[in-house]
């Protein structure tokens, strides 16, 4: 298993799954065949806070690159998440109905948000960050946040 990339800022540790691609917001995508799972990065979930509600486009819906596919609500923020892929939602994580906090507990594993059947993966991938590039972006954002307190 390839180890996660990690950075520590103050008492917080932020991890990046090396098997994923990311948009600049921090939404990850992990591809298997012609389907992909989407979720929130560790940094994004920690920055947002405890997730109280999650709304996801229902199964059968079409999503486009950069179009909104989900909304998360915490006591700190309401965020519309942009899709890193183009395709059709085929499965929404059933755990999110009653235990959306699974996104905070295991953002790259059990906390996945939905699965999408891909239409234009080659074009979408060229517009995404690989894990290393996202890690560098995340580092800068994490350090900036600490400096701006």
């Amino acid at each position: 298993m390839i180890p996660f990339l990690e950075i520590k800022v103050d008492k917080f540790t932020f991890r990046v799954d090396p098997t994923c691609f990311f948009n600049s917001e921090g939404v990850w995508v992990r591809v298997a065949g012609n389907r992909a799972r989407l979720g929130l990065s560790d940094f994004l979930q920690q920055r947002s806070g405890d997730i109280a509600f999650v709304e996801v486009k229902p199964e059968g819906s079409l999503v486009s690159f950069n179009g909104a596919f989900s909304t998360i609500e915490t006591i700190k923020v309401n965020i519309d998440l942009s899709s890193p892929v183009t395709g059709k939602v085929v499965l929404v994580n059933p755990a999110l109905e009653n235990t959306p906090e699974v996104i905070n507990q295991d953002p790259f594993g059990e906390g996945w948000i939905c699965e999408v059947e891909l239409n234009e993966w080659e074009a979408d991938q060229s517009r995404l960050l690989d894990a290393t590039a996202y890690f560098e972006l995340m580092k800068r954002e994490a350090e900036d946040e600490v400096k701006n307190i």
């Binding site: 405890d50 906090e101 905070n104």
Partner: protein, 142 residues
């Protein structure tokens, strides 16, 4: 014959990192100081974990209701580790999901939404206290 009822112990997490911790604290005070003062007793979590004998004795002889701010569940976990019987555990995050309009902000001082959430939580705890005072239930979740 009237049976003497052991007070129910209320244990908030009082976490300082999030508004939820303050909601847990305020709700606990409302229950023990205002709503059900004769039936409940508040126990400081840190005192319990640090092994204060008097506190542990009270816990050993009582049923506990824990109030955690978030799903990390520090109060419920440590009450159990200290040998306590958790009759009911609350997580403020879960209660917030039932009262979506009462969005808490502020840690040192709660906003109006936070005060209302604490009040709603306190009322749920009052109901549990009444239930427990009249029966001998074991562990269950709220």
């Amino acid at each position: 014959m009237i049976k003497s009822i052991q007070k129910i112990v209320i244990v908030p997490c009082s976490g300082i990192g999030k508004s939820y911790g303050t909601v847990s604290r305020v709700a606990a005070y409302q229950v023990t100081d205002e709503d059900r003062p004769d039936q409940t007793q508040l126990i400081p979590l840190a005192l319990l974990v640090m092994g204060d004998e008097a506190t542990r004795k009270i816990l050993a002889e009582s049923q506990a209701v824990t109030i955690d701010g978030c799903k990390l569940g520090c109060a419920a976990k440590m009450v159990r580790q200290s040998g306590g019987q958790v009759a009911r555990e609350f997580a403020v995050l879960d209660v917030f999901r039932r009262y979506r309009d009462f969005k808490p902000q502020g840690i040192a001082e709660l906003n109006e939404g936070g005060e209302k959430l604490a009040d709603a939580l306190a009322k749920e705890i009052d109901a549990v206290v009444d239930e427990l005072s009249n029966s001998k239930e074991g562990d269950s979740h709220a």
